[in-house]
Structures are given as C-alpha cells and as structure tokens.
C-alpha cells in the first residue's frame, strides 16, 4: 500500500505534489468551463478520477460497528478510509447495498492522531512513556507471572473483546485458561445479551437468533420490543420498514415512542422493568382464547401446562398496573400474533439489561413457541446483537467463564478433558467470574490482576465510581486498545492494537453468519493485531504458539468446536458467509434453527414458567423517576470510534436526558436546560430534551460520553441472578433544574441530537 507520510524535504515535496493534484480537480471549473467542449471535459474528469481510484486500495470487508454484519468495499489510500461502496450482492447477503451512517462515514478513528502507535509503560513518576515491544511485553509477563506465582492463576482475569475477530477471541479464551490458568475470562456480552443467551439456551438450546435476516421479508407480523432498531441497528431497521411497506404487520412495545414505532400498526408505551408481565399477559390471552398452536405445543414442546398455570396470574388488571399496557392493548397484540401465519419476535437490550432479563427472554421464548412461531420461514426469535462480533467473539468462541468455544460447558468432564489435551494444560471445573462479578470480586480481594482487551469498563460497567476504584486499586492492569481510553489511564502497561480495518479474520453476525474480515489499511505505527500480541505473550510465558496467520487459528478452533466444524476461511470467502451450526465441510450451514428439533436433550422446546419478580431498583419518594439508558444513531457505545468523527459530532456531541413535557414542566425545566440527575450512586448534569416520545414517569439518557457518564448513576450490584447482566434499563432517579451552568460535559453550541434523526 502507498501513501506513507515522508519526512523532511521529501515530505514537503510530497505535500506540494498533493496540492498540485488537488488543483487538477478544480481544473474543469477554473480553466475550461467556457473554452473546452463538454465531452472533452468529461473525458478529463473520467481520466483523472480513474487515475485517482487506481491509486487506491479496494477490498471488501465486514463492518466493525453493530452486529448486523453489513459488508462493503472499502477504498483507502493506505492511511485512511476514503469511502465505502456496495460490494457484490453475493458478498453482502445481509445488507445488499445498504449501510448506515456509521458504517458509511465513521472511519476517522482509524487514522486519528490519538491512535497509539507504540506500547506505553509508566516511568518512575507514574507518567506514560513510550516503550519498545520488548520492554512492554517483558513488563506485562513479569506482572502476570508475579500474580500467578504469589496468588495462583485463578486470581487473574481477562476481558476479551467482541470487537476483535473470532480467531482472536478463541485465543483470548485459550490464553486465559492455558497460559494464565484461570476461567475468569468474559466480555461485553455480560452487559447486553447474556440474558438472551441464558434464556434461549435453557428453552431452545442455542443462545442465538433462530432466524436468518431474510426471515424479515417472509414474516406476516414482526413483533419488536426493547429495540430502537432504526438507531441501534439501522440496516435491520430498513428491513423492518420495508416489511411494513410491503403490507406486513408491526407491533412495538417500548417505553419510548421511537422512530420505528411510527411505522407500527400497534405501539404500546410501557413502563421499563416489567416486561415479563405484559409478555405473560399476551400468552395468557392466547391460551385462554385458544389462539395458540396446539399441534406445535403438543409435538415440539414440553412444560406447556406449567406455563399455562403461571400466566394465569397475569390478569389484564395486574398487567396494566405493573406495565401501563391496557387490556385492549394486550388483547390487540395477541390478536396480531394469532392472525399471522408467520410472526417474528425481535428484541434488543430493552428486554435484556434488567435484573430479570433472563425471565423476560424466557417469557418471550414461551410466547413464540406456544404460537408455533419457531423453525419455519418468517418466524423465530431474533435478539439483535450489539457489538460487531459479540455473537461470534463474545459467545461462540468461548472467552466465557463457563463455556469453551461452541458453548461446551467447562463443568462437563469430557469437554474439559478434550481442551486439556488440546491445549496441554489443567483446567478447573468451576466457572470463573462473569465480567460484572469480576469488579465485585476485586473489591473482595478474590481477583488481583486484569488483562483488558478492546473494552472500556470504566465507562461501560454499571456503577462508574466503583469500576474506577477497582481499576485504580488492582495490583496489575494491562490494557490493549487503539486508544488510551478511560480504562487504560489506570493501566500499568498499554499495548497498542489495530482495528478491524487492519487485520484478517472472521466476524459472526447477529444471524449466526460467519463472514470474512479483510485488511484494508496498514497497521498504524508499531501497533499489532490482538492475535500477534497474544502469541508473543504466550510464548514469553513458556508456550509454543506458532500461528503464521489467522487461518491457522481458525483451523485449530473448528477442530475443537462442533458448531463451527465445517466453517473455514476458504468456505467463508467462497460462499460469502456460512451460518452455524455447520458441523463439517460438507454441511451447507444452518439458515434457520429448530426446523426439525430444538437443541435440547429431547429435541423439544422447554417451556418454562416465569413468575413475576419486580426490578431491583424501584422508584421511591426520594427517587421518583425511572431512568432507562440506550444508544443514539450517530454514536457508538463509549465513543472511541465515533468521537473522532467531526461530521458525526456535529449531529450529536453530548449526552442528554429525554423528559416528557409534563414531567419537565412540573420541575420548571425547559428544552435545552441543564438538568441535574441523581441516583443513590451519584449524579450527572445533562441537557434536557423535552419530548412526547417518553412516558411521564420515565427518563432516558444515552451512554456515549465520558464527561457525563450515565453509568455514574447505575449500580454494580443489581444483576440478573442467572446471566449477571446489569440493570441498565431501570434506575430510580430524581431530577432538578440547574441554574447558570451547563452540562458536566462542558459548554457546547451544538443542539443535542434528537434520537430519532
């Protein structure tokens, strides 16, 4: 690849040449507009543009933002991404020619001036100093080894990165177990869909979407809840809109009247935190009115009677009191599902980020199964995953405290023996700590060191103050990232990694599709791919990893992972993506799960009764409102990838709080005013956005800015008992107007973005 920035005189000359080339582009308007035949002008323009394109590198790859799994061609000059354009339809099965605003434009992060190009270590004063790889790796190994020697490997923890490739995540799990000797390895799935994984695994067998994205086209009805689809998964949002345009039904249950609700045949505003109640209410209506699929229930499920008994308590009155959904709305939603031959259930974190998230998911799994909406075209369950590779890297590859790759339980002796033999190490049969538990375990002295790869727990963990205290106090912390993020500032060593644009491997998207990731940029400076860094560390710690490339890692992984057994780089490239389970190279992959049987011992769906338990955080006189958090279209998670993008920041440069007009008026707050928001954990000041889209007792704030980190208000101890997902979607808060100051993010002339842009 070309385009390296030269030093000295050559750099000046290079600049002069670039300026001269830019002049060419103005040639047409400046010189020839009135003196040259138009045809010739066109010829020149074509020649110039062809020449410029000829100097660029073009390769197709898979998007590194959300997990929809869009693929496109990326045009680069070797240093930065200049454009993305649709690739061939065979190579982009999920998105065809669509991309969202982030996938299309937001790549300045890759060449941003704050990208780390060398490892960092602390000098004698505790300040950062540039270090060679040799020094940084030496310090890292010394730190890890001293904790292992003093306390034992189980006191180490690893946070793996769902932004990294499958191959790298396989190695992160292997590194934790084989090199460090700990099962405490987890990732961001714990903060989002781990309750989906838990709920679906225990009912249907696989903790993943049962559908293919093309089922959106074949459904008669799409039932969406807790998903701000057009903002968090814009390209899927486009498919839902198309479904409506083609005459399909759409039902939306959500605390906020988000943009997709405008397309719905029925939108029901609910209070956050009680979803299992209204879902059970719908199930009750369907059973009581004989609108469920008796044949499917009889042949393909167990546990129906228990569910029938459990939902009987969810009378319309009780459901309305708990959730705000009226009897008519529950009945109407049930009728939409019953009337549809094919209904698809989609959800995102509005269902999962609760202290009862697994219950919410289980209730939805029951609902889909009793109506026979699983395993047929246009039907199924579709949790929309958030990080680009949280399905594959965060789950399938097994950087998990309780599972090896392919959801093979650590507690199972045979599985353990298989991996102990393959990796030549001993592995404990007890699961390690989940991410959210890790931070509490550090407080109790149960963990001592952390290797944090491509994650930013200082901002993303519930209870920011607690997370920061833990990070500052831990004995040894190594952070591997593109930037010195909020977490890295507490580290002992920072190792510079490369982005998905600079490496090869695979991602697995939200419909279990394994797709190829290709390098389109040169690595920045001395930054290295995660797998290269892991290999260097492993070998310095006495192992003999000899991977030449990520294909060799994939080959090792698939030999140990039955659901990936037939998924190779070669196939993924040739076939434009392969969906797991795919046990061998002759297997075509699985477009839709559960067509013949569920992945359970008896092959049937285990319907499980869901009792009502209230959310752990509840409004009180002191904290009368319920805060729910989420994302906006223009930003992505903690902002490391989107904040460097000037254009995007012009649309949305800070967090805000959505208030219902009635609520705002009762506090004397107007649109644009600074608002103090307090919980029992802390306070932030953000700008008010007064809008009808949110209910009177609920407030909403996005999660994207460190300056106003909304997780200052959330609680690290309010966790789902099974999945340990935090209760991000429900926090009791109070608000008050702030006189004469701006948000804690500092002044800004930019209007906060409407979430529905």
């Amino acid at each position: 690849m070309s385009g390296e920035r030269k030093e000295g005189v050559a750099g000046f000359m290079q600049q002069a040449k670039a300026q001269a080339k830019r002049n060419v582009e103005h040639f047409a308007e400046g010189v020839a507009a009135d003196s040259m035949p138009e045809g010739k002008l066109f010829d020149i323009a074509t020649q110039v543009s062809n020449h410029r394109l000829g100097e660029l590198t073009v390769d197709d790859t898979t998007c590194g933002y959300c997990a929809v799994g869009c693929r496109f061609d990326v045009y680069t000059d070797g240093d930065e991404v200049l454009a993305t354009r649709a690739t061939s339809p065979e190579q982009s099965p999920v998105n065809d020619m669509s991309t969202c605003v982030k996938g299309k434009f937001s790549y300045n992060f890759a060449d941003h001036e704050d990208r780390l190009t060398s490892p960092l270590v602390r000098d004698e004063n505790g300040e950062w100093r540039e270090a060679s790889w040799d020094e940084a790796l030496t310090r890292t190994v010394e730190g890890f080894q001293s904790i292992i020697d003093e306390y034992g490997g189980e006191k180490m923890s690893v946070i793996a990165s769902s932004k990294a490739t499958n191959e790298e995540n396989y190695l992160m799990g292997k590194f934790a177990r084989q090199v460090l000797g700990t099962n405490t390895v987890d990732n961001c799935n714990r903060l989002c869909h781990s309750s989906t994984v838990a709920g679906l695994a225990k009912t249907y067998g696989f903790g993943a979407a049962s559908i293919s994205v093309h089922d959106f086209e074949e459904a008669d009805c799409i039932f969406l809840t807790g998903s701000n689809t057009t903002e968090a998964h814009p390209v899927l949002g486009t498919r839902v809109k198309q479904h409506v345009k083609d005459g399909g039904d759409l039902v939306v249950f959500d605390p906020r009247e988000i943009q997709i609700a405008e397309y719905a045949d029925q939108y029901t505003q609910i209070k956050p935190g009680h979803d299992r109640a209204w879902v059970n209410g719908i199930t009750r209506y369907l059973i009581e009115n004989d609108l469920y699929d008796e044949e499917f229930v009889e042949e393909r499920t167990t546990g129906f009677e228990d569910v029938k008994e459990a939902v009987a308590d969810f009378t319309p009155e009780r459901v309305e009191e708990l959730t705000g959904a009226s009897e008519e709305e529950i009945a109407s939603a049930a009728e939409y599902i019953a009337d549809a031959d094919r209904c698809l259930f989609g959800w995102t974190l509005g269902i999962t980020e609760h202290s009862r998230g697994t219950d919410n998911v289980t209730a939805l799994a029951n609902l889909a199964a009793i109506t026979g909406n699983v395993g047929k075209p246009g039907t199924g369950v579709s949790p929309f995953r958030g990080q680009n590779n949280v399905q594959g890297g965060g789950g399938d590859m097994g950087p998990l405290p309780d599972n090896f790759p392919g959801y093979q339980s650590v507690a199972d002796d045979e599985n353990r023996e298989k991996f102990e033999e393959a990796w030549d190490c001993d592995i404990a049969g007890e699961r390690g700590y989940y991410t959210t538990e890790m931070f509490n375990a550090f407080s109790e002295g149960e963990l001592k060191g952390m290797y944090c790869i491509g994650e930013n727990p200082s901002l993303s963990e519930p209870g920011k103050k607690h997370a920061d205290e833990v990070l500052e106090e831990m004995e040894f912390l190594v952070v591997q990232d593109l930037f010195l993020n909020e977490t890295a500032k507490y580290a002992d060593v920072v190792l510079p990694a490369v982005s998905f644009l600079e490496k090869e491997g695979t991602f697995t998207n939200t419909d279990r599709r394994v797709q190829k990731v290709n390098p389109v940029l040169e690595p920045k400076g001395d930054a290295k791919a995660d797998w290269e860094i892991l290999q260097s560390l492993a070998n310095r710690m006495g192992r003999e990893w000899e991977y030449e490339n990520t294909n060799e890692i994939m080959e090792e992984m698939r030999a140990l992972t039955p659901i990936y057994g037939g998924i190779s780089h070669e196939r993924v490239e040739e076939e434009g993506g392969v969906q797991w389970p795919c046990p061998d190279l002759d297997h075509p992959g699985t477009v839709r799960l559960y067509e013949d049987e569920f992945n359970t011992e008896d092959g049937k769906a285990n319907l499980l009764p869901v009792e009502y338990k209230p959310p752990m955080s509840q409004p009180s006189d002191e904290f009368p409102l319920t805060l729910t958090t989420g994302r906006v279209l223009y930003q992505y998670h903690t902002g490391t990838m989107t904040h460097p993008e000037e254009g995007i920041m012009k649309y949305n440069d800070r967090d805000f709080v959505e208030l219902n007009p009635e609520t705002a008026a009762s506090y004397g707050i107007e649109d644009g005013d600074p608002v103090r928001m307090e919980s029992d954990k802390g306070e932030i000041v953000v700008t008010a956005q007064v809008t009808e889209r949110i209910g009177a007792d609920t407030v909403f704030a996005p999660i994207h800015f460190a300056e106003t980190a909304v997780n200052t208000l959330t609680d690290s101890e309010r966790l789902d008992p099974e999945a340990k997902t935090p209760e991000f979607k429900v926090t009791a808060v109070r608000i008050s107007p702030v006189e004469g100051t701006d948000s804690t993010g500092g002044p800004s002339s930019v209007e906060p973005a409407r979430g529905d842009d």
Binding site: G8, V9, A10, M36, I44, H51, E472
Partner: protein
C-alpha cells in the same frame, strides 16, 4: 495499582510533528529541523526524479520568494549529494552548460504562463494525465491549448518536458539513499544532475 495518567507522549501516537506544511515556512522548517545537514535531509528524499518533478511543480505555483528559496534548497541538496560522491565534480561541472539553453527556453515559457495565470492548472493536469498513462490523449488536446491562447513554442516546450518525464517514468526504478548516491557516480546521472542544476541556475537568473 496505578494512579490515572492521561498524558501520552506524542511519539507514541499517530500525531504528526507540528511543522508548517506549505510555502517558504515549510522549507525553513525542514532546514531548521535537519540543522543544515543536507546529507541527512537528502536521506529522506526517495528519488531524485521525484525531487525534480516536484521542484518544477512547486516553482509553477510559487511566488517569487518561494521560487528563490526552492532553487537555493534544491541546489544545496544536489551539491551536498555531489560532495558525498567520490568522484567527478569537475566533469559534472563541465556538463552543466551543455543542455542548459534548451531548458532555459522551456523555463521562459513556463514563467510566461505563470505570469498570465494559466500555468498552474494546466501543468497540474498535464502531470496528472501523463502519470495516468494518458499522454497520447493529452496531446490531442492541442485545441484546448490553442483555446487557452498558448503559443506553439509553449506547446512544444511542454511536450519536451513531458517526453522527458515520461521516459524517466517508464525507465525508473525505486531507489533509496545509498542507491541514489551510487547512481550519482554514473555518467548518465551526472548528466542529469547537471541538467537539473542548469534549470535551476537559469531560473535563478530570470528571477534576479
């Protein structure tokens, strides 16, 4: 256990060194940075051809002061390079004048075009199209050139320049510092260097 530290040394990031990037300030900054050690500076010039070509482009869009500065800088660089080569300064000097007149003529045309404001865009386009292998097409643009009221000499002059650059482009190979210095000891290279210095001297004369 580590206290939070945010300040990262620039050398560990993707940050560009802060230096003026255009005009006379840029040249001064480069000279400052390398402390007059032109041999060191030349280490960072990848190809002499690149240097020549760029110098012409810079001259084309520069004002008088900048032209003089560029001229001085390039001459100094060439002298520095020659100083390192082991032999032939005399021979090089002898060859300086041989092709100078032709280039001075060309430069006349160039300067004329610059004065009438037509040079910048035209020359850029010419270079661009030559690079993209569309030279033949370009030459068909005689109509365009006449429409711009450029006289025949000017067209001939431009074509001479392009033909020379084209040859260089087709025949050249990437060469590093040591390769460049080794190449300086060949007769052809010395002739070429003479050619360059003659251009620059001619240019300097016109500017004084």
């Amino acid at each position: 256990m580590a206290k939070p530290a945010r300040a990262v040394p620039d050398e560990a990031t993707n940050r560009e060194p802060e230096r003026p990037e255009e005009g006379r300030e840029a040249i001064d900054a480069v000279i400052d940075e390398y402390g007059g050690d032109y041999a060191d500076a030349i280490e960072h010039t990848e190809e002499l051809e690149n240097l020549v070509e760029t110098a012409v482009l810079v001259v084309a869009s520069a004002d008088d002061d900048e032209v003089e500065q560029v001229t001085q800088t390039v001459v100094t660089l060439v002298k520095a390079a020659d100083g390192i080569s082991s032999e032939g300064t005399v021979e090089l000097a002898e060859r300086l004048g041989e092709n100078a007149d032709e280039f001075v003529d060309l430069l006349d045309t160039v300067m004329e075009m610059q004065e009438t404001g037509q040079l910048d865009d035209l020359l850029d386009t010419v270079m661009e199209m030559q690079e993209s292998g569309q030279l033949e097409d370009l030459l068909e643009l005689a109509g365009t050139l006449s429409a711009l009221e450029i006289d025949e000499d000017a067209v001939d002059g431009i074509n001479s320049l392009l033909a020379a650059t084209s040859d260089a482009t087709h025949d050249s190979e990437p060469v590093g510092m040591f390769g460049a210095l080794r190449a300086l000891s060949t007769r052809d290279a010395k002739a070429g260097l003479g050619y360059l210095v003659a251009i620059l001297k001619g240019l300097g004369r016109r500017l004084r």
